[in-house]
């Protein structure tokens, strides 16, 4: 995305991204009490999917890739009808919280952000 469009859309990215983060945090909290709640797993999935898409179009490749891995993980659990374990949900919560900070503080610097540790963490909880 060119600089002019980036400047035009960064506020909207932050606003909508924060809404998805809130939905995902809420979904994780509910899943911790009821791990079989499919509606909340869908909310988690759609949130990760949309933050991925928005991040990629804004040029935030690392964040987009991280959300893609989270999306794949959640989709796998939905398709195979496997509830998340408490350990997995704790890890997801530990990843979403710093992602929130990245999203609400997004700027052109976010394009060069590396999230390798978070990627390794997501991969470590895959079944």
């Amino acid at each position: 995305m060119d600089n002019a469009h980036f400047d035009q859309y960064i506020s909207l990215y932050i606003k909508t991204g924060k809404e998805y983060i809130n939905t995902m945090q809420n979904a994780i909290n509910i899943l911790m009490k009821n791990p079989t709640d499919k509606n909340q797993m869908e909310q988690l999935y759609i949130g990760a999917h949309n933050i991925k898409s928005q991040s990629l179009v804004m040029g935030f490749e690392s964040l987009g890739n991280l959300m893609h891995e989270m999306e794949k993980l959640v989709k796998s659990h939905i398709e195979k009808n496997i509830p998340f374990s408490q350990d997995q949900l704790t890890v997801l919560k530990r990843i979403i919280d710093p992602v929130e900070s990245i999203v609400v503080n997004a700027s052109s610097d976010t394009k060069s952000l590396a999230l390798n540790r978070e990627l390794d963490t997501i991969n470590s909880i895959k079944n």
């Binding site: 909207l12 990215y13 606003k15 869908e42 991925k52 179009v57 890739n65």
Partner: protein, 120 residues
Amino acid sequence: MKVLVIEDDNFFQHFYSTKLKEQGFEVAVAKNGNEGIQLVESFVPNLILLDIIMPEKNGFEVLEYLSKSQAFHNIPVIVFSTLGQENDVKKALSLGAKDYINKSFFDFDNLVSKINQYLK
């Protein structure tokens, strides 16, 4: 020309509706598949831009509705895709979508070119 955007994400709803209106298209936006079907019937678009992963009826269900509709089965549909949706795109094309656009990349000119191609 009338374009219906069926997309649950507020960011992309705003982005595509704004950019398309700047190009002179008349645009309606639906935030899920159910709303999308309602707008197909009331707005009667010339072309549909369709997201696949949405709440309340996904893109595949919208494509199935369109394919069975005598009135609307000829409306060209371009689906939105993103990273990891290669299989979704194949399925959408098999269900009657004409083309796809990868919304991970900022390539609005390509989208307009495709829209004009299918509106001919």
